[in-house]
């Protein structure tokens, strides 16, 4: 049995990138494996997402961008499997490598206060009125050039990862990482000040 039951172009990078929403700018010589990486892209900003030149985006990558979100990814990045959750701004520099199962979020997407969270749950119900959702906090995430982000790392709102830093597997980041540092663990701590 060798006949395709499915249309495989949308999962092998061979689909038409010009078919993306017009507020997504794709640079030259990019390769984007799976079209559905943009299935939850809802940005109303223009541009809502800019991919630089020669960016490689593998099958597990997901761009969950809210109507208010803006994202940019610099030249020569390799994205194996980040899930981006963006309500304001996530900026990824050049030559950044992001491994499997990584989450990068610029908001918690829900309020902290318990009563507000109940209102949030009601507004988010399948037939709820999402315009009634309480406000939630956002703080931009910035990943500078030449950073490597390890398997399963989680980078949360307001974090800036300095140029050339290394984020160990499974590290959970809630505060900035200095340039050139290696951080590991949960909660993340600096293992080496300068690995350059």
């Amino acid at each position: 049995m060798s006949q395709a039951k499915y249309d495989v172009e949308p999962v092998t990078g061979q689909w038409d990138y010009d078919s993306l929403p017009s507020n997504i700018r794709v640079g030259q010589h990019c390769w984007i494996e799976r079209r559905d990486s943009f299935g939850s892209f809802r940005s109303q900003q223009d541009p809502g997402l800019v991919l630089g030149n020669r960016v490689r985006v593998y099958t597990w990558t997901t761009f969950n961008v809210e109507p208010t979100g803006r994202m940019e990814v610099g030249d020569d990045c390799i994205l194996a499997g980040p899930v981006f959750m963006c309500a304001e701004r996530i900026a990824v520099g050049q030559r950044v490598m992001i491994s499997y199962q990584v989450t990068i979020a610029d908001s918690d997407f829900h309020p902290i206060d318990p009563e507000e969270r109940k209102r949030d749950a009601v507004a988010n119900a399948p037939f709820g009125d999402r315009s009634q959702r309480p406000a939630y906090q956002t703080r931009p995430v910035v990943i500078e050039d030449d950073v490597w982000i390890g398997i399963g790392a989680i980078i949360l709102k307001g974090v800036r990862v300095g140029r050339g830093a290394r984020i160990g597997a499974g590290a959970v980041l809630t505060s900035d990482v200095p340039p050139g540092a290696m951080v590991i663990g949960n909660p993340a701590r600096v293992a080496h000040e300068d690995i350059t």
Partner: protein, 182 residues
């Protein structure tokens, strides 16, 4: 023997250097989407092993994986340019990643990207999961991980060292937290 899977949604055949044992079930050849192994045997499994949806073999040219009998991989990603050995009766849960290096990337599909090859060049990497090991969801096993017989790796643990038989390792960085039997 057909190199295509009857139930497959993806139209590719199994790579020639892949051997699946009797009654071993693989959800799809999409698992080999980034498979670049040029070894004589890139993947060999024993009999009665299940490789379910979400399992990927992102092997580099020197990557070699052997998996035993009665193993269950519910959706692990194996990303290696070295050797990965998985013993009989292993159970590997969802979203586990077994990789040579902390910032592992899939094969580069023939494209020469120097930065990527830098993290993907290890040829001596070796990861061993011995018989009857249970690996919890989201755990990460890196080069040097050698999980002893009957041991358990806790959910989301990060391990790059020898774990004694019949012990439990948990946390990030991983540490031995208990013995199951003496």
């Amino acid at each position: 023997m057909s190199r295509y899977l009857d139930h497959d949604w993806f139209p590719e055949s199994l790579p020639e250097n892949v051997e699946l044992g009797e009654r071993t079930w693989l959800y799809s050849t999409y698992a080999f989407r980034h498979f670049q192994s040029r070894r004589t045997i890139g993947l060999r499994t024993g009999h009665d092993t299940g490789l379910y949806n979400g399992t990927f073999f992102d092997l580099g040219p020197n990557g070699e994986v052997s998996i035993g009998d009665y193993c269950t991989l519910v959706g692990a990603i194996i990303c290696s340019n070295g050797r990965v050995e998985i013993g009989d009766y292993a159970f590997i849960a969802h979203e586990v990643v077994i990789a040579d290096t902390f910032a592992a990337l899939p094969g580069i599909l023939g494209q020469n990207i120097s930065a990527a090859s830098e993290v993907h060049q290890s040829q001596k990497a070796r990861i061993v999961i011995r018989e009857n090991v249970w690996i919890g969801a989201r755990a990460v096993l890196l080069d040097g991980a050698d999980i002893g017989e009957g041991a358990i790796v806790g959910a989301a643990a990060v391990v790059d060292f020898h774990v004694p038989p019949f012990s439990v390792v948990a946390g990030n960085p991983g540490r031995i937290v208990k013995k199951i039997k003496s």
